[in-house]
Every structure is written in C-alpha cells, then in structure tokens.
Amino acid sequence: MNKKLAIFLSVLLVATLVTGCSLRGRKAEGTIVIGSKNFTEQVIVANIVADLIEVHTDLKAELKTNLGGTSVCFEALKRGGTNNGIDAYVEYTGTGLVNLLDMEPTTNPDEAYEIVSKEFKDRWNLVWLKPMGFNNTYTLAVKESFAEENGIKTFSDLAKISDQLVLGGSMEFLERPDGYQGLKKVYGFNFKDTKSMDPGLMYTAIDKGEVQVISAFATDGLLVRYNLKILEDDKRFFPPYHAAVLIRQDTLDKYPELEDVLNKLANKISNEEMQKLNYKVDGEGKDPSEVSKEFLKEKGLI
C-alpha cells in the first residue's frame, strides 16, 4: 500500500513541477501587456493597439482580453504589466470621469478629456493618449418594428409608454449614476420591470421579446444583426464616451516610442467604422485579430 501511495505522490509531484515550470514562462524584457474589457469592441481595439506596437516598434505585445469589466482592467493597470497587471487598455472618457474619478458628468467632450487627462496623471500617473475618434456612448435601443408601430424616435417618446415595457440592461448600466439611475430622473422613466443581465445576453432577450428595451452601446455591431433602432437622447443626458488608450506613465518613460506609435490612431476610427468592425466579429463571426489587421491595412497603418 505504502508503495502505491509513494507512486501516487511522486507522480503528483512531478506533474506539479512540470506544469508549474511551463506556466512560469518568464516575461521577456520589452513586452507590453494590453488588456481589454469583456465585450467585442474592446477585444478588437486591444488587438489593434497590440498589432500597431508589434509592427512599428521592436517591442512585443501580450494580450489579456475579456477581463471582467472596468474595475478589473483598472486595478490591473494600476499594478502594471511586470507586476501581474497590464500596461495599457482602451478606456472611455465618460467612464473615466464618472466611474473611476467619481466626478460629475459633463456633456462637453473636450472638457471631459481635459479633466480625465489631468486627474489621472495627478492621482495615478496614468496617461490618456489622443482619442481614437468614436464615441461609444450608452443609448437605449428597441426593435425597429416596435419603434415604427409606436412611433418612437426619442427617449422622451419612450418615456410616455415606459410603464408597459420591460428594460434589459447590463448590471453596470443599471447601477451607474450616468446610466439608468440618472436617466430615470431626467426622463421620468417608469419601466414595468428592469432586468439586469450580461451584455451579450440582452440581445437574445430582446430578440425573444422578453424585454422590449435594452441598454446598448452606440457602436454595437449586434444592433445591426438584430435589427434594432437606437433612440435619440433628446435631452442629452449621456456624457460623451470617447475611446482612447490609457497607459502607464512609467511604460511611456521606458519606451518613449510608444506614444507616437499609438497616437497614429488619433481620430482614425469613426462611430460608423467602429460599428462596422464590431459587426464583422459579432455579425459575420470573424476573429478579432483578423478584423484588426484588415482595418490597419485599410488605413495604411501597417
């Protein structure tokens, strides 16, 4: 018996050592770790950032995509790539302002960018590079057929019949002060019920008719796939969410060439273009890395 136990233990020990060593994989000098949140657009832009770095510098880019939300990305960024974290990810000015800085939202995009640039530098030594161009604001979407039948174009139109409807939203949207909590007060929404769910699942829910309204991102490719209509935020409640690379100052100090390389993306992606890229992944089932390379070639960036 003891012999068998000894065999068992030694097998376990050897296997542990082997896997342990293979997992250890030392991070090579000159590797930039790029993170992303867990939705399609983020995975695509993270791939774009990584591809640009690999093509235009001698550095290697390592991707950590699909991290569980803003807080995981941000906490990882504060630690840095050499310390079980990441060096950069793409963040939205509105999210930076309202969620991360806990400040009042503003409707002026330039002002939002200036505030986050200054505050992130002072508080955490993090740098916002130039915005990429698209504004991935929150919005509400309904089925096109539903909008036509009920003559709904704006949030105010929707508010009038909201007591007969169910809203499906991501958990983040339903809780954020710049999300449903604030929206409710401005437009007087009074939905019959609100259901919180994973962003990907909202689309199945509205398609099956379990909810009639969902929170969506303006650049979502799934809006096209499911024939949904974005309603107009006629009271301009949602702050701007312009996307830009958020990167650690010490990473820029170490590799100064990064700033110029990544700023090549400044104003290169419009809302429509981002939605198209998202659709290529969500609608046509292409791989994010493939979509990223296509895009960069099209723009003459690689």
Binding site: L23, N66, G68, E75, A76, K78, N84, G200, T204
Partner: protein, 212 residues
C-alpha cells in the same frame, strides 16, 4: 446544426487545444497546491481538536463567498493572470480536502485505535500506520470532489486574464455565438469527467487491501 458545430470545432481546433491545455494546467496546479495545504491542515485539526472548529469555520466561510466577489476582491491585491487565478481556484478546492481528511481521520473505529495503542504504537506510528491508511479512501474522495470543482472554477478565471476554456465561453457570450460557447463548455465538461475518472482510479489504487 450539429455539423455546423463540428465545422466550428475543426476551424478552432488550435484555440481549443491551447485553451484546454491552459485549463488543465491551471486546475492541476490548483489541485496540487490544495492537496499540499489541505491534507496537513486536516491532520493538524485531528491532532489539535481545539483549532479544528476554527479552521473548518474559516474554510466554510471562504467557500461560501461568491466566486465573482472573491475575484473582485483579489485583483487589487494579487493582480491578474496565472498566479492569482491558481490561488483563487486553490481556495475553493481546499474545503472538501480539509473536511474529508478530518472526517476520515476521526471516523476510524475506536477499537482499531485501541488495538494499536495496546500494541505499544507511538502516536506517530498510530497516525502513519493506522489512521492515514484507513482514512485514505475518504481523503481521496475529497480530493476527487475538489478536482472536479477546480475544473469548473477554472472557467471563471478567464475573467482575470488567465486564459483557459472560459475564454471561449465569455467570448461566445459577448458575441452571441452559441457555437463558441459550446466550443468552450463541452471540452470543459470532458476535462471534468476525465479528471473524475483519473481520481476515481487513484482512489481505488490507494484503498488498503484490508478494507476493499
């Protein structure tokens, strides 16, 4: 439908194999560490009954904590990637191992222990020659439960950048692509069943002849 799914699997074979390997490595590391911590802890609890309720209480409380909450709480402290992921899975794999080790060691027939004492065995001899061999099947059963759980929990750590099959599942959910979800979920199931088989074999292997 099924042929479409199979096509997808073939197309993504490289990814699936890579993620499965990562998945297996992560769960395996976690299980090994959990065994290395859990079994000695269980033995300590048996020898010092006063601390046993304390250790068991802590292990129970940790186990009861929702895994997503634990993850959110660990990221600022440990960061993301492989190491924090292994630690998280280890934490969840610990309880069944501790509990079964303790139960196995304390549940032995008093008469057998008395017989051992009567033969002049020291406490150490009693432990290594009587208690542990008799408790082994129970301990192994705990390890087996922990191993299957670990494979399940490992899908979660894709959310903190550790890779593994959860990567396919979460990507599939965000793309509303059920084929991709299945491409992650089915291999994860197979891995869990496989690990269960392996450990059930080991369980039989270490069961002393006398109590088979």
């Amino acid at each position: 439908m099924i042929s479409e799914y199979l096509d997808f699997i073939v197309q993504r074979m490289d990814d699936i194999l890579l993620f499965s390997t990562q998945h297996l490595q992560l769960s395996f590391m976690a299980i090994s560490i959990a065994i290395a911590i859990g079994v000695p802890l269980g033995i300590t609890m048996m020898m010092f009954p006063r601390v046993s309720s304390l250790i068991l209480g802590i292990a129970n409380a940790v186990q009861a904590m929702p895994s997503l909450a634990l993850m959110g709480f660990l990221v600022p402290i440990l960061g993301i990637g492989t190491t924090p992921s292994i630690m998280m899975v280890t934490v969840y794999a610990l309880l069944p191992i501790i509990k079964n080790t303790y139960t196995g060691l304390t549940g032995i027939d008093k008469a057998i222990i008395e017989a051992g004492t009567g033969m002049g065995m020291t406490k150490f001899q009693l432990m290594t020659m009587v208690r542990i061999p008799l408790a082994l099947p129970v301990i192994m059963a705990g390890i087996r439960i922990a191993a299957v759980m670990a494979v399940g929990y490992t899908t979660l750590v894709a959310l903190i950048g550790a890779g593994g099959l959860g990567q396919l599942i979460y990507r599939g959910i965000s793309m509303v692509n059920s084929k991709m979800i299945m491409a992650g979920a089915v291999p994860a199931m197979i891995l869990a069943l496989l690990i269960d088989r392996i450990f059930s074999f080991l369980e039989r292997l270490v069961t002393p002849k006398g109590i088979k």
